[in-house]
Amino acid sequence: MNLDRQDALTALADIERVERRTWETVFYGISGSILILWGTITTIGYAIGQAYPRLAGTAWPILQGVGFIAMPFLLRRRARGLTPTQMRLGWRLVFAQCALTAFGLLVVYVLGPFDGRHLDAFWALLFMLGYVLAGLWVGRIFIVFGIVVTVLTLAGFWYSGASFSAWMMVFNGGTLILAGLWLRHRGASL
């Protein structure tokens, strides 16, 4: 073969770009399923909060528990075929979500008590911060998504009145599900 330094540099740049796009496509496929899971959980949680406000305090920990139990199974099923390095990143994101949850519980414990409306907004904003931070490593779409839901959450917090849980059901849970479906459509299954 007759290649010069410039040809080699161009080829390596192509390889790097394709590797990044491949990882993005695979990651979208996996995270789409996880978003649908959490979207469904939050939609149910906010629906209970709107219809039976007194049950919300009991329902949320149960729903969160279901989510945390289901997530590793989902990750294992959807992420078969990843390289060990990619798998480690997936698990790091799961641990990051656990860390965010622990941080949130400590904040509620130290700074609380809060009313339901403040708690609903706080947890949503905390997890959207997680999406924005994760987006710095795994793709800008998560930053956009985190910011959009943050703005919608704040809008609902200030302007939705007594229908805040219903607002969050639609704009938080619904957006998570829609984003998850879109990511699954864009992403690859292995």
Binding site: N2, V18, T25, T83, Q86, M87
Partner: protein, 100 residues
């Protein structure tokens, strides 16, 4: 200096191998996703996949996902090895700054 691999070095085939090599062993990508990643047409991708399959660098599997036909592509161990060797060759050119 080791020799480059003319089969792999062609621009589209290099992208195909780079993409498939990024996956873990035994993982495959669906044709349409690979087409989007490599940014090419169905026909072009099909032609280059046939070349790579003939060289033993990829395996192509056609199956049904429900009622929808699906074509999945996977790098073979020898394809991964050939790609890794070709990348090493490219790095060698850059390090030596010379022509090969």
């Amino acid at each position: 200096m080791s020799d480059g691999n003319p089969i792999i070095h062609q621009a589209t085939r290099l992208k195909i191998m780079a993409s498939l090599n990024r996956l873990g062993p035994n993982a495959s990508l669906e044709f349409t996703h690979l087409r989007a990643i490599v940014e090419t047409t169905d026909g072009n991708l099909g032609t280059h996949l046939a070349t790579l399959e003939k060289a033993g660098y990829v395996e192509i599997e056609k199956r049904f996902e429900g009622r929808k036909p699906q074509t999945r592509v996977m790098a073979t161990p020898s394809g991964r090895r050939a790609f890794t060797e070709h990348v090493a060759y490219l790095c060698e050119i850059i390090e030596t700054g010379g022509q090969s």
